[in-house]
């Protein structure tokens, strides 16, 4: 079993209105040195496989077809070997 930790980030060239609005909040709080706030997506899931190569392939497919839109987003992920606790096993 693997645990996948995926980060989906918009390309720097793509406007992030949400990040901009949040940064205005920082200014309201008196923080004047905050720059380039971006709100991205962090997604976690497990992969029921013992083979790292095939697990990576599946995560890549999940990311490129659904979790990220390759037109505006890039993704990166880490796969950590992980043993599910007994009660969480299917």
């Amino acid at each position: 079993m693997f645990k996948a930790k995926v980060l989906v980030k918009r390309r720097p060239s793509i406007l992030d209105p949400q990040g901009k609005a949040v940064e205005k909040g920082a200014v309201l709080l008196g923080m004047n040195n905050i720059r380039d706030t971006r709100i991205d997506k962090y997604i976690e899931f497990s992969v029921d496989s013992n083979d790292r190569v095939s697990a990576e392939k599946e995560v890549n497919e999940y990311c490129s077809k659904l979790l990220a839109n390759p037109i505006m987003e890039d993704y990166e992920f880490t796969l950590i070997e992980w043993k599910a606790p007994e009660k969480e096993k299917r």
Partner: protein
């Protein structure tokens, strides 16, 4: 002969009944709902992907609906030249399905915008606008939080070159300026078609501007244009 119309219903669609009502009762077309878990388009000549919040807008607008079983049939139908109209969330689904180029971002203002706006017809020589003159201004409502259309420079050049931009946000007299743009979309783009001209995606809701009882009926011009020209 009137075309047959199929209105796709996704979980979270909320303009499906408006579209159905307009095509069935006002435009007098044979109209059917098409549940997203089916794959049968029921011999439709026109497919409507209606507005709403399919799958709760989770992940990205339209991202999950795009993989509903019916979308395989819709994509197949569209690639064979079938007429598909995506309104609002339907437009977002068309982008996610790559049937139209570009992406949709959160409105620049971060606000959900719900109001009547003006649309200039940029290309009056499409299936959707043939009965409307280029330059004509339509009054049609928008209602969305994510209608900020974006495409990279290359895609934009392609869109312009192929005359795929059909509608832009404008003033009531047709002036196209950022001031009349409700969501920050690039180049005031409100609606585009594919290269073959059989797929339209637009953020405004023509189906909400069809029944004269509501005091506006410009949306009818778009739908009547399709009905009058689809078999030509």
């Amino acid at each position: 002969m009137k075309p047959r119309v199929g209105v796709v219903v996704f979980p979270g669609s909320n303009c499906d009944h408006d579209a159905y009502y307009v095509f069935k009762k006002i435009l007098d077309c044979d109209t059917e709902f098409l549940w997203h878990k089916t794959t049968d388009l029921k011999n439709s000549d026109i497919i409507i992907l209606p507005g709403g919040f399919s799958y709760g807008d989770y992940l990205r607008t339209g991202a999950i609906a795009r993989f509903s079983p019916i979308m395989n049939s819709v994509i197949d139908f569209a690639e064979k030249g079938g007429c598909v109209v995506g309104i609002c969330n339907g437009f977002q689904i068309l982008l996610e399905a790559r049937l139209l180029p570009g992406v949709m971002l959160r409105n620049k203002s971060l606000q959900f915008v719900c109001k009547d706006i003006y649309l200039s017809v940029i290309n009056g020589n499409t299936l959707f606008t043939r009965d409307i003159n280029s330059g004509k201004v339509l009054k049609i409502p928008v209602a969305h939080g994510e209608g900020n259309y974006f495409a990279d420079d290359l895609t934009l050049k392609d869109l312009e070159k192929n005359r795929q931009v059909v509608f832009r946000y404008s003033s009531s007299d047709g002036t196209i300026d950022e001031a009349y743009n409700p969501n920050g979309s690039i180049k005031n783009i409100a609606g585009i078609i594919n290269k073959n001209g059989n797929i339209l995606g637009l953020m405004p809701h023509p189906e909400r501007s069809c029944d004269p009882v509501l005091g506006k009926a410009d949306g009818q011009l778009i739908f009547r244009s399709i009905i009058n020209n689809i078999f030509n």
